[in-house]
Symmetry: C2
Subunit: 419 residues, 2 copies
């Protein structure tokens, strides 16, 4: 064990650790005879063990001090485990239906023990690739986003509470820097980490690096990401951070959490649904042309924003006399003004969301980390065709986002691109 | 003395304190026989003693745990002294020509020992009331704003340095809250602290409280003030926080400092010059119609912004390959793009500055704390006429700020209002 008390897990040490940790041992009913332990970390940054016994189960997640897929050459603050556990607990308080429970947190070991989100839950991204419909997905994720974002913003918090939380989450700076680099910088310059479906997209990637208008817009989004402490965001809310069944939606992995623009979360989710949409043609086959499924994705994109809008503004109405200090009821004291204020706020948030969603799409096509939606299309030329459509749509969305007045205009534009 | 080590100063204890504090005693050459000690705090929050001896001098400023003019009923974190000393030292490092030196800081006593800014220096506001021209004022204040704002922004700092500083200054939250209340809230609602030149401005004050468009714009400025950590701002950069002679400009009193929009400082200074302009007719007499002086104020407003623009963008050019991470040279890699990026940034900053300047004007006419520029106009009707012009101009500026493309359009509009 290192002098700081950190020791990377292996299966043998994990068992010792569980036995000597009452919070965890009790979850298993103190029965260690028939334990099944499986390492499933397919992410880039952590060990993830599923532990299932005859009387209970949990997941153990340990943050490693480097990015796992690249190795020790890319060090990464393991302190992120603290912010992940802190955020999971905060989000569970605000939205228990869609946030798994944390049973145990060990700061020195950078180790979280939490609910095992059992089968038939699967990662949403895999469900979207398989063509599964999730009828409650938009309802659930809009609930999660509305509650976690509203209650951590100045619409609900006092300045004192807000600044205290902002100060604390400034400590997660290493993860913010990683986001800045991989989302807002690398795709727009030559970087050793960038890759794309070559040679098909060589000129597309080059065009991104030469696009002054695009870079101008990205600069604004990057500045806002670094400077604007609007709410406690998940920070990585793509479809790989959501586990689903037909009637359950659980959001995991908020290790990138900090106080930042709300649109970054909303955009991450919607942007990844758009990627899933443009990947569908690559998954179509004779048995399933995916046309109906694409319509379901479009509907889910629309419902996600529209339900979020409805729920978020409902929370605002409900708490307009609450502790939040930006819109004091004595000032915003008539129905017309309250409506105006909300319309302005939600319009700005919508455009922010489209901008961040587009930036997250672009980086998944020409940046370091790609998505399985496209990667699982084995034929490169077919994959490149899907990716190019998504990339072109994202570029338009980023540059023209302020011209969209509703989410249905966005989904219409997606369909037109393919007609 | 209280258990926390804090004890309010009086003249006798101050002398003991100086004798037992080497940093201060040495400044006086350890000669305490012929000391002149004068309490001059005309502010609202502090004791200020000037100490002059035969071999040296300094000022002692002690933060009190309440707002002095209102009394102990309005408590105020004396921790602000720490942030004032911290900011004075940081700003002196960045702009030594226009920031007084701190000799001594006592955290427990909330006490700063600093340079005595000697006569003929006077408070700029008093100079503007007297009708004095300061030919170097715009040159100096633009230098101060360009350096302190540029070097504490993400145009120069790394994200790591920036977030560390942001977290620290979140501790100055009590002073942020005071600003929120007196600038962005109280003037727009009924508040026991508000006052104005009554009865002349009764309906004007009422109109401010009924103006939906104005309140919509103020909400945006307030949100940005609370959320956007753009740079380490002075936080109270009005003409009462600047001491001048014809060839020296010294900025004092940054106790409201925190990471916030740059436009708040620029707007504070320009807004207070605009107040000074509209007050001139109240100071005109047979010997001096103040017409030439008003032109000097207009010229100083124009030069302040134009020189700031020039110096700030020059610093940006000079440090474009520096540590700042928002506009990486590998991305912003051609002259056209660099120009576009700067134009966009400076245009947004200009409009922010006009908005914050206008908000600061409004609160000085219908809020709790007024300015001597108007208060020294003894005849109420005449004062009200000046104040109404300033108030109407501020309302236009706040609502229409995005239509102004240059500072000369602002000064033209000021002149038109009076023609």
């Amino acid at each position: 064990m290192a002098s700081d008390g950190f020791r990377p897990l292996d299966e043998k040490y994990l068992l010792e650790y569980i036995k000597s940790t009452p919070d965890l041992a009790e979850k298993l009913g103190n029965r260690f005879d028939d334990l099944q332990i499986k390492e499933v970390g397919d992410g880039n940054l952590n060990f993830v063990y599923i532990v299932v016994g005859p009387a209970g189960s949990f997941v153990i997640k340990q943050a490693l001090p480097y990015i796992r897929c690249i190795g020790e050459s890319w060090p990464m603050a393991k302190e992120r485990a603290y912010f992940e556990a802190r955020t999971l607990r905060e989000h569970r308080r605000l939205c228990p239906d869609h946030t798994p429970e944390v049973y145990h947190f060990d700061h020195k070991m950078c180790l979280i023990g939490m609910r095992y989100i059992e089968p038939p839950h699967i990662i949403l991204r895999k469900g979207l690739i398989a063509g599964n419909e999730y009828p409650l997905l938009a309802e659930h994720i809009s609930d999660y986003m509305a509650k976690t974002l509203f209650f951590t913003s100045l619409l609900y918090l006092t300045t004192t509470e807000h600044k205290r939380a902002v100060a604390e989450f400034c400590g997660n700076v290493e993860l913010c820097r990683l986001t800045e680099q991989v989302i807002f910088s690398d795709p727009y310059k030559v970087s050793q980490y960038n890759h794309w479906t070559s040679p098909y997209l060589d000129s597309d990637a080059e065009a991104v690096r030469q696009d002054n208008t695009l870079k101008l817009e990205v600069a604004e989004l990057k500045s806002k990401f670094c400077e604007r402490t609007q709410a406690l965001i998940h920070g990585d809310l793509h479809t790989g951070s959501v586990m689903v069944t037909s009637n359950s939606t659980q959001v995991i992995d908020p290790e990138f959490a900090f106080y930042a623009p709300m649109g970054f979360d909303i955009g991450a989710f919607i942007g990844n649904l758009i990627l899933a949409y443009f990947a569908q043609d690559g998954h179509a086959n004779e048995g399933n042309d995916r046309k109906a499924y694409k319509l379901w994705i479009l509907k889910t994109i629309e419902e996600t924003w529209n339900l979020f809008h409805k729920k978020f503004t409902a929370l605002w109405d409900e708490h307009k006399d609450g502790p939040g200090e930006v819109y004091l009821p004595e000032i915003y004291n008539n129905a017309e003004l309250q409506l105006l204020v909300k319309q302005k706020y939600m319009k700005d948030l919508f455009h922010d969301s489209l901008g961040y969603g587009a930036a997250k799409m672009i980086r998944r096509i020409v940046g370091v980390a790609h998505v399985e939606d496209f990667e699982s299309i084995t034929e490169p030329e077919k994959r490149a065709t899907c990716e190019r459509q998504a990339l072109n749509f994202a570029k338009t969305l980023l540059k023209e986002r302020r011209k969209f007045e509703s989410i249905s205009e966005v989904t219409s534009a997606m369909q037109q691109l393919q007609s």
